[in-house]
Symmetry: C2
Subunit: 655 residues, 2 copies
């Protein structure tokens, strides 16, 4: 999968017959400075006068000065008695003084205006009230305990500078200062033009579904949602097919409209059907074509009719990264406010990550706090998979001049979720099982604030993660051929110095996953050696792989006899998808995976899938909540319902 991704987003750009190359390839920094400096944004937007109460997040066009002072009168800052301070001068403990209520002093509440000829307030705590009079034994000085006129805002003083983004607090200050209308920059208008013959608008997909070869037009909705924080007005245009003339005239119409920014979706790379760059070359000036980022490389930055026009890549993740690097910042530049970057955190990667030299990679990661460490687990890097973004907690940027990041190197991650979510993340590393996904969704129901980040790296790597203090839980189903015992002997071997608890999650059925109807009539492990049978295997260290090798040994089958033995996938679902797609005729995996894709299943063995927990974490809320869930009747029922599982040992603490 990793390989494939690299190709998807990398190789497009190389010299090849009947294709163009990226003539204006730039690094991210170069591209941004070329693009942003190509326009003069002062006065790019008109201004408009709107009600102050409607002005949240808008940007001031001029300095704004107060019309009223606040307060506009001297008022009591305390409850007590208003007085002319001079009447109290010289008063001390030895020389107390009586003052007549209603004549010399006047009862007053906080916030109320001072009576004429008074300039101070004696705190109620400092008076002894006798009928008609008060006695004091302490002087007050002029304006003591008084909020003077203009203490907060003095009429004519500057409330807000120009190019200031209006906050809720500002709205309070503006109204206090008697400013009921403000002149602000107009909202920038953005036109989004989806393209592609295969693309189906959602209205149609909603009615008729989609046919083979069609794709739902979702990018424009995702991007317009990303505009949410920018004040921009978004206008979505109908999908344009891959037809040069039509694309060109559509772009022309867009740049000649009142829009301030035009974005063309997909068709931005250098393939034979990617017309955007040609159209833009004819209509105006292409400033950048191709940015050395991954995902996001097929980005076009152009200037047409003095307006910024952007060719946005078609793969959803590339589309988002490119959009966030070029569209969002330019919209804040137009309005003249500082573009707000995401908060960052120092993290450790749960495994080393190689990366291609010369490419700045935006690596999506899951984040969880284990002890003092914040652990980042890399997610699939495919540009075509939007779910890698929806499930990510952060993004780590791997600089172009680096060939990757070491496992024990601390790096910065940009946060995609509230930081609290990370502290509430339970890091499960190890073998994949669908009941982990079930755990994830059920957990949300009993505690919406907890969430699970699970990485499927195989049982052994899971134990290693526990060893390094990089996981709360490891999911493992390691069969020991010598003893016939699951997991415990491996734990003794690999985690001798770390006291852990071991809890059974499920007993599950492993078996051969074959296409519906089992066309090749596969009955047993022996059939894997047939020449007409293509097998798909799991990666080394995976429990399923060990189980297979054990069975082969029992049957004296040499792995070289099995076609596809060396072709590896890293999850049960991946194996099932291979069988569904015809990439393989058979794979070894769990029933639930076969069922999910409506494939047939031939049981081979039952195995114990356990969770390993460091004892130090056993009492934590995270772990206890998980255990409570695992032991619940509801969870066990749900597991049984999936089929291919037994829950007779579920929740049992084996050690």
């Amino acid at each position: 999968m990793l390989e494939k991704t690299d190709q998807v987003t990398e190789d497009i750009g190389q010299v090849m017959p009947n294709r163009r190359i990226y003539l204006k390839m730039k690094s991210l920094k170069e591209a941004q400075s070329i693009f942003f400096s190509a326009f003069n944004f002062t006065n790019f937007l008109k201004t408009e006068v709107i009600s102050t109460t409607e002005s949240l997040n808008r940007v001031t066009a001029k300095p704004i000065f107060a019309r009223f002072s606040s307060p506009n009168f001297h008022c009591a800052a305390m409850d007590g008695y208003a007085v002319n301070a001079e009447l109290t001068f010289g008063v001390t403990l030895d020389q107390p003084k009586e003052l007549t209520i209603g004549k010399e002093v006047f009862a007053i509440n906080t916030g109320y205006p001072l009576p004429d000829n008074t300039n101070a307030v004696i705190m109620i705590e400092n008076v002894v009230e006798k009928e008609g009079k008060i006695e004091i034994n302490k002087a007050v000085y002029p304006w003591q305990n008084v909020r003077k006129v203009g203490e907060d805002i003095v009429a004519t003083e500057l409330i807000l500078p120009p190019n200031h983004r209006i906050t809720p607090y500002d709205i309070g200050a503006l109204l206090e200062g008697g400013i009921f209308e403000v002149e602000v920059k107009e909202k920038p208008k953005v036109i989004i033009i989806p393209t592609g013959n295969e693309v189906v608008p959602i209205e149609i997909a909603q009615d008729r579904g989609i046919e083979k070869g069609q794709v739902i037009e979702s990018n424009s909705w995702m991007l317009s949602s990303l505009l949410n924080t920018t004040n921009a007005i978004c206008e979505k245009w109908p999908v344009v097919p891959d037809e040069f003339r039509q694309l060109k005239t559509t772009i022309q119409k867009a740049v000649e409209s009142d829009a301030h920014l035009v974005i063309i979706l997909a068709g931005s790379s250098a393939g034979s059907k990617d017309y955007t760059v040609l159209a833009l070359e004819e209509l105006g000036e292409v400033l950048v074509h191709g940015v050395t980022i991954m995902p996001g490389k097929p980005t076009i930055l152009a200037k047409v009719n003095n307006k910024p026009v952007i060719g946005n890549p078609g793969y959803p993740v590339s589309s988002v990264i490119s959009f966030e690097q070029f569209v969002l910042p330019i919209l804040s530049q137009m309005q003249g406010f500082v573009y707000e970057e995401r908060p960052k955190l120092k993290v450790f990667l749960s495994c080393p990550v190689p990366s291609k030299l010369g490419i700045e990679e935006f690596l999506r990661v899951k984040l969880g706090q284990v002890g003092k460490n914040i652990v980042a687990t890399p997610m699939p890097r495919t540009a075509g998979s939007i779910t890698t973004l929806t499930k990510a907690h952060g993004i780590i940027r791997i600089p172009a001049q680096r060939e990757g990041i070491e496992e024990d190197e601390q790096v910065e991650a940009e946060l995609l979720v509230p930081q609290a979510e990370i502290f509430n993340t339970i890091v499960i590393i190890g073998s994949h099982d669908l009941t982990i996904d079930l755990l994830t969704s059920e957990l949300k129901k009993i505690d919406p604030f907890l969430n699970i980040s699970s990485s499927n790296v195989g049982s052994l790597s899971g134990l290693m993660a526990i060893k390094k203090g990089r996981a709360h839980l490891a999911g493992t189903h390691l069969f020991d051929p010598e003893t016939g015992i699951y997991n415990l002997t491996y734990i003794d071997r690999y985690l001798p110095e770390i006291p852990v608890k071991v809890v059974n999650l499920v007993i599950r059925h492993q078996g051969l996953i074959v296409p519906k109807g089992n066309p090749k009539k596969i009955k047993s492990i022996e059939d894997l050696t047939r020449s007409d049978v293509l097998f798909v295997n799991r990666q080394r260290g995976a429990g399923t792989r060990i189980l297979l090798d054990y069975k082969l040994k029992q049957l004296n089958i040499n792995s070289s006899q099995i076609k596809g033995y060396d072709c590896e996938e890293i999850s049960h679902m991946a194996v099932a998808v291979d069988v569904l797609s015809g990439r393989a005729d058979v794979g070894l995996g769990i029933y639930a995976a076969a069922k999910a894709l409506n494939l047939d299943f031939i049981p081979i063995a039952v195995e114990e899938y356990d969770l390993v927990v460091p004892e130090t974490l056993w009492e934590t809320k995270k772990i206890q909540t998980i255990l409570q869930l695992i032991n619940s009747h509801k969870f066990k029922q749900a597991v049984e319902k999936m089929g291919g599982y037994e829950t007779s040992k579920t929740g049992m603490v084996k050690r």
Copy 2:
């Protein structure tokens, strides 16, 4: 001002005649847990089905599973030729092979569906095209360069868990998965009820302005803007006067409506006209009255008709702090998503800040970056001044069990502005002078993006700040009695290892500040020894203090002969206020301070007020802009106009 503030927000709660006390005072943590746990928020909100495209930031009511797989067909991951992989088996460099286009291989673009009977794509880079045929010298394996069905989303798999806040990315994933409608929590409805006889709605203020004793009703607009990020629908009700029955019936109507949360503005403290707590006691249960935070103490947390009802303090800053601590979190709890806290930064304070034991203070600060250090300058602590929030860059929380924060202690500041804004702040630490305030306001005019944060801690502390790398500029007027030279000799002594530039800001007149008409006929320093004269001094290290001591030495006057020599103030204005209020008969300070309070001034000396700049910063835009301003005719004119200053050396680089 500091004194006054403390009283404003502190003393309200003490026992005093004709007032109630806070019976249910709690710490912030206590108050939050009491309040949040008093309600069962599961099913507190109904659910509704809305279009996926409208669902940004809404919260899922149920787990959402995919209906379609994405992609729903095998498609080319690369541009090239689709082929049945078996046709390429055995092909190598030595054994190349020709394949017929349209028969054995089919030209295909990225993203397009594979023709029937093909299962792989040969990259265009790896073929030599001859008419009608292509030659290859490398085999492909089945499904190489192919995006398989379900690579991103497999039908039936979980796209979103329940209680998940929908992001732009999620919208993309939902649409890809064929989910066009989602079931989400309804929007929580909030009713805001302003109260107070003095409060004027903005519509009226806009038409008629406001009269003495009136206040514009701005809090409700500020708070409803703060709801912007919460999905909440806000209903503002008309202002209710300070009248018990009317307030009570209004609250009753509100809690019996379909609202989920009710907020009453002002009248939440324990003053004789604060009816809210009484009304709530009669209508339901008051859980908390009074929270030990500053600002924000007069907060009421109640439960009426099983709904949360909040009494929100009247002073704008108290109102905001209370709102952010109780209203925003409870709205996210209702919907079941994690409340997003502000990003935090580690900072140093520009001066030590004492704080009241037992009170958790929310200290507003300006932030500036000096080298690696981020320096926080405390702002006025008055609860009544909304502009302290609009101008603040961050908030530092001083825990209740602390009596303050030391100068060299690193603390956390919550960011109120984009981090970038902090880099535009010029930090000036040192002796106070009114021309620094002038500099601040003039700077905004020539560069709205730059701003100055200045703290007045005396000349010596200013030099120390430069030494510690905590200031861009230090304002100093240190007179050296030995040499008669200003500043330079002190710089040699205290900053030997730090190369600095020294620029004159102004020459200013120091003199004796006495009440209007100079009742005690004070003429010279000698008069300070008179037994009928009470003096007020400046703090140790202040240039003015050193000047005085020098004069005393010249005149062989012993400081013990001066009544009030040990009574210290930390700014010129503070000294002037003491004289104005009668606390002292005379103080030493600058003309501008005397003038500001309309006091008399007897000149004693002229002194050189210089700015010290580390050479490393000299060329920076910040410093150069400041220098340009100081040298401008406009600035010098403005200084002359203030009186008590000479600008003959202004802008001169003395070193």
